[in-house]
Amino acid sequence: MLFSSISFLYYFLPILLFCYFIVHNKYKNIVLLIFSLLFYFYGEQIHIWILLLSIIMNYLFGIWLEKSNHKKKILAFSIISNVGILMYFKYINFFITNINTIFHTNIGLLKVIMPIGISFFTFQTLSYVIDVYKGEVKANHHFFDFATYVCLFPQLVAGPIVRYKDIAQELKERKHSISNFSLGISRFIIGLAKKVLIANVIGELSSILLGISNDSILGYWVIAISYTLQIYFDFSGYSDMAIGLGNMFGFHFLENFNYPLWASSITDFWRRWHISLSSWFRDYIYIPLGGNRVSTIKWIRNIFIVWLLTGFWHGAAWNFIIWGLFFALLLLLEKKIWGNFLKKHKIVGHIYTILLVLISFVIFSVNSLNEGIIFMKHLFGFTHLPLLTSEVIYYIRSYGVLLIISMIASTPLLPNIIKILKQKKGIKSMINGLEIIYYVILLLLVTSFLIDSSFNPFLYFRF
């Protein structure tokens, strides 16, 4: 089920809210668990067994890790089991294809369907067993509470990656307040609007431009910009919805995005983009490998390992690996060569970052390496395409306002203006009133866009 669907907004959510708030506190987790499983089953049906297996497995690993004297062996076994499941369902055919290519073998591909959200819940359960192993958190002995954590529907299928230690206390006991619930509603609606009103429509633009017959250089730049904005608003919109829903049910998930397209370097970009994933890799891969407190050679190795895995996490294809390594190289160069220059020249830094991020999302979005190379050639005018065509002009005019709105919305400009205005007494109450109207209009607009459109899955579901 998608958050941005009529079935979620006007069937699932009202029934869940009713059931959740009518039961006593001690049954709230059970209600959330049942509805989360229904939410997952609605989209994945029979493949729910993989999620159930992951819950049972990691619940037992947690308890064994706490009690056993062979913690290392159990940890190794649990990591192998979790990663093994992920490898099989997400990567097996990638490996088979590459083995066939390299060794000229003819191993048949397996009919494996990747369960939605497997990368997210696997990383959550891995963080749980590792934290239990390190003694940073106690194992959860309440099976239903643990199961609620793993399959909590707001973040189950597209993140953010919520670590057990961050919500362990709230799983046991959490407060529900009017202010938190209201905050959740507004955050949820903003996320919904980002997804439905911006990401989906901009995605439409890139699809149209990719499909037109009269290619042009400017057209490819618009596609690259559209890809970047679409991925940002799609994913950050989903994170907003997850955080907002979490608030409505008394949870506080950590932020996942902080205006990444406003970053002034690639290092800064990755402090702001998919924060839960980059911090996961930092804490569970980079630091255990020695981080930067090792020799330069090992440090470079660590950087490349982390970014190779980051790329690979996003998809079982070479373009994702190259996408990750592209960032590894840029981060190294910033650290060693031009990082300080970028710190001193913010405007250059913004332009530099946006340009490289655009290129990175082209690598991210293409279906094959070859397609990526051709795209780059078009982008930089190596294929004798005209600068622009009447078709591209039409679509730029048609989607221009939305592109400008989305570019502004990807910066902290408006929130900062509102923050400043709110400090003035008379204006604050007016803004509060306008905010209420704004949320109602957004919700109704989203509903109208959903009704007029067909089914539209989130981009990040494939991860």
Binding site: S5, Q45, S182, I189, Y439, S448, F449, I451
Partner: protein, 359 residues
């Protein structure tokens, strides 16, 4: 206070529509969108386990949402007025007329169309008088270059080149934007007298006096009206009648209705279907007032439905063949091609999407 108001309004909206979804009776069809709406899917263990139920339920929730048309209208208005998009779902408005983007020109389809015409001539039309005319869609007459338009010159060029052995009858100079309905793709019958006269002149050599009684129906909502979802006034559908039209006997391969105008269609899903009962593979019209045994065969699309009654005067029989609904290879089974005139009369839209025409 602000928090409480946000919560109350949110709950009113989601519970309000939740309850309305349950209480309001489902609609079978949407006249505005000219289609049947999804019904609540049947539930079975199988359909739940393989996900069919969920997929169908998603469609159902979209189709049966309360005030669906109002929401579609909100979406369309916001696209035009907030986001300043030039089109919404390929529909655009210019001077209160609704258009659909017909773009780009598909040269392969245009060539395929000419090949289809050649095939029919080679197989069925030996010794007959063959003509062709192309009906420009209304985007052809758009004066500004703001919107995407197919390359009409190229389309005409290709066809004239490929069908150079046939008699071509030019229609473009006889039409203008006002010849088409504001809310529909089709031309207006009351604007077609000059078209009918030229076709008669070229094919028969005689021009009828075209005296008719005018009948009107309103409000007529064309096919684009529902797609545009902007509401607004309907327009007038005018149809001509006289003795010849009233007395004509229509034999429709897929209907037992025998009149030229099927008035029951007015106000239905597509009021334009009142002309010769809408889509059908073969129609044969017998003119009871004419015994010159002159016969006309028209290979056509829906534009011909409103034009044909105006061509009736000079022919004893007119047969209309719509290759979208019958294979070209099976025509011998249902049509008796004997001596007579043949007119290939197709709109640019169908020519550009000629894959619709069956082999």
């Amino acid at each position: 206070m602000k928090d409480k108001i946000i919560i109350i309004l949110f709950l009113i909206i989601i519970y309000g529509f939740f309850l309305l979804n349950i209480v309001i009776k489902d609609n079978d069809l949407s006249i505005e969108e000219r289609r049947h709406l999804k019904e609540f899917p049947s539930i079975s263990m199988n359909s739940i386990l393989n996900g069919d139920f969920m997929d169908e339920f998603e469609d159902y929730t979209l189709d049966q949402f309360p005030f669906r048309n109002m929401f579609r209208s909100i979406k369309a208005n916001s696209e035009y007025k907030i986001f300043h998009k030039l089109d919404n779902n390929n529909i655009f408005i210019e001077n209160n007329k609704i258009f659909k983007i017909e773009y780009p020109l598909n040269e392969k389809n245009v060539i395929r169309f000419t090949e289809k015409v050649d095939y029919i001539i080679d197989n069925y039309l030996d010794g007959m008088n063959i003509y062709y005319a192309i009906i420009p869609d209304k985007n052809y007459y758009l004066e500004n270059d703001k919107y995407l338009k197919m390359d009409y010159n190229k389309l005409y060029e290709i066809i004239k080149d490929k069908l150079s052995n046939l008699e071509y009858i030019e229609l473009r100079d006889l039409l203008s934007l006002d010849s088409y309905y504001d809310t529909d793709t089709h031309w207006k019958q009351e604007e077609l007298i000059e078209v009918a006269s030229r076709l008669e002149k070229e094919m028969v050599g005689i021009v009828s006096n075209h005296e008719y009684q005018e009948k009107k129906y309103e409000p007529f909502y064309g096919v684009y009206y529902g797609q545009a979802a902007l509401g607004g006034k309907g327009e007038v559908l005018t149809y001509f009648t006289n003795d010849t039209i009233s007395n004509a006997y229509v034999e429709n391969i897929s209907s037992s209705f025998h009149k030229i105008y099927k008035l029951e269609e007015l106000g239905g899903m597509d009021s334009y279907n009142m002309f010769l009962s809408g889509s059908t593979p073969i129609i044969r019209i017998e003119n009871k007032n004419q015994n010159n045994e002159r016969e006309l065969f028209i290979f056509r699309d829906s534009f011909a439905s409103s034009l044909t009654p105006l061509l009736l005067e000079q022919y004893s029989n007119i047969t209309l063949i719509d290759l979208r609904y019958i294979s070209a290879s099976k025509l011998n089974d249902v049509v008796d091609f004997k001596k007579g005139d043949v007119l290939f009369l197709y709109s640019t839209m169908i020519i550009n999407q000629s894959v619709m025409l069956k082999d």
